[in-house]
């Protein structure tokens, strides 16, 4: 179902942004558990869900909103994530017919694959800005455990987001098209 009006997406978007706020607060407080090296990038997971599941021309704008909220909790800013997220959305758009998240293992694998693509785009941008490969290698060391954990979480978060966006009837998760 194409959602081409703002009213179609606004209530779900607001709930998603509130959810993101809560998850970002949780992620920013991970160091109080004594884990200082790793965080959980929920913003990436939400962007991936929207690109997999949502068919709307406003998708890049949604990515922008999500990254803007993320920038309140990170000095990363909104721009780099928005660029990576939008490129991932374009890719998903082309592969839409091939992505069928009809089981938990497939969802985990697909999420892992797209996180890897996201990492590749961001790393390329960092390399273009700093010219340092060592930092990217170190970043990859952090990315692996973080992304695996996020992929394992993804089926549960996606099913929660499913309820918010009521997108089950859109057929991508293996349902009727």
């Amino acid at each position: 179902m194409m959602r081409s009006r703002v009213n179609d997406i606004l209530p779900s978007l607001l709930i998603t942004l509130v959810l993101l706020l809560v998850l970002e607060v949780a992620s920013s407080l991970i160091p109080i558990l004594g884990i200082f090296e790793y965080r959980l990038p929920f913003n990436i997971l939400i962007v991936l869900y929207l690109s997999f599941r949502l068919e709307t021309p406003f998708l890049p704008v949604l990515v922008l909103f999500i990254q803007y909220i993320h920038s309140f909790f990170s000095i990363e800013g909104w721009a780099m994530g928005t660029l990576a997220g939008t490129l991932v959305c374009i890719l998903c758009n082309y592969l839409r017919e091939l992505i069928h998240l009809n089981s938990i293992p497939v969802t985990i694998l697909t999420t892992q694959l797209f996180q890897l693509i996201w990492f590749g785009i961001v790393s390329l941008m960092i390399y273009m800005k700093t010219g340092e490969t060592h930092y990217v290698i170190i970043k990859f060391g952090r990315f692996l455990p973080e992304s695996i954990l996020m992929s394992l979480i993804s089926p549960f978060l996606f099913s929660f987001l499913e309820k918010i966006w009521r997108s089950r009837d859109e057929g991508i998760l293996g349902g009727s098209n």
């Binding site: 920013s28 406003f58 309140f72 909790f73 660029l83």
Partner: protein, 325 residues
């Protein structure tokens, strides 16, 4: 009709994608992590969210304190009797310590000791950390209402933490020295070798642009040079933990461990300097750097002349052997 609607939404989609892509590309190219100003909306969101982060952070401290206090309480009742005996002895030691403190104060006044960081100090607590593992930012519970300013240096008793990167009325984000975007003009305290310290990896920092001939050794202490308008001179940044001197390179790789234990960081001090103070410190640092360089050159000259004199006085070992033969 449906086809035209589809075409319209398709065009709309392309336009949105193009606009967002261009906007974000512009944002990435313009982005420099130096200092950030917040819009009223951003300030509002941070001011709403930060108290929640503060409450959760505080709850963790309370729970930890409760557990620690309970176990300590059990232990304390056992030790109480022993401690009472020790108190008598400690009273005597305190008396002698007080005498030493008084003496110290007198000597300091005699030496005309001055606190180099004549800055207003604001104590703050950490309420949250950066939500991305790529960046090393911390959020503190003091903002512009407490008198702190953008780019105010943040320290602890152990050394440098970072500087205020962005802030609201009640909260501020500190870009720590462990972040790759933060650069500190540093000096190796022993050799006065100059370099730029920046966040590296796995909780380490890297000191760049030190000539490979500089005699830096392990455990050398690196301090701030006072240049760069942000950090006052003489704050401890880290200690040298690894050195690499490649034959093909003109510089050496100097890896530093921070003197501050970031994993146990709970409170920090913000040094608030006025613009004039900062300017003065910068000029002082520049003057002193030149003076120090001259002093080191003179010292080296003296050392060399002494060595030459010694060589002249003592005949070479080879000639002695020859005489014996």
């Amino acid at each position: 009709m449906r086809i035209s609607e589809g075409q319209n939404s398709g065009r709309q989609k392309i336009v949105y994608y193009l606009v967002v892509l261009l906007l974000s590309t512009y944002g990435v190219s313009r982005r420099s992590i130096h200092m950030d100003s917040l819009t009223p909306f951003e300030q509002l969101v941070i001011n709403i969210v930060s108290p929640i982060q503060k409450i959760v952070s505080q709850a963790r401290t309370d729970v930890r304190d409760f557990i620690v206090h309970y176990t300590m309480n059990v232990e304390a009742s056992k030790k109480n009797l022993d401690l009472k005996k020790d108190i008598g002895q400690l009273h005597e030691e305190i008396f002698s310590m007080q005498e030493i403190a008084l003496e110290n104060r007198r000597l300091k006044s005699l030496m005309d000791f001055q606190d180099e960081t004549a800055a207003k100090k604001v104590l703050a607590q950490i309420v949250a950390w950066d939500s991305s593992s790529d960046y090393k930012m911390i959020r503190i519970n003091k903002g512009s209402n407490s008198g702190i300013q953008l780019q105010s240096p943040v320290v602890t008793a152990d050394g440098l933490v970072g500087y205020i990167f962005r802030m609201t009325d009640h909260y501020a984000d500190v870009l720590t020295v462990m972040d790759q975007s933060n650069r500190v003009d540093g000096v190796v305290s022993r050799t006065r070798s100059h370099g730029i310290v920046e966040g590296y990896a796995r909780g380490k920092m890297q000191m760049k642009y030190i000539n490979r001939r500089e005699p830096v050794i392990l455990n050398d202490i690196v301090i701030t040079s006072g240049l760069g308008h942000i950090y006052p001179r003489g704050i401890k940044v880290g200690t040298v933990s690894r050195l690499e001197r490649e034959t093909f390179s003109t510089t050496q790789l100097v890896e530093l461990s921070s003197t501050v234990d970031f994993t146990k960081l709970e409170e920090v001090v913000i040094l608030v300097l006025s613009y004039d103070q900062m300017k003065k410190q910068e000029w002082d640092a520049l003057d002193q750097t030149e003076e120090e360089k001259l002093r080191i050159v003179e010292k080296e000259k003296k050392m060399k002349s002494r060595e030459k004199a010694k060589e002249k006085e003592a005949p070479p070992a080879a000639t002695k052997k020859e005489k014996k033969i």
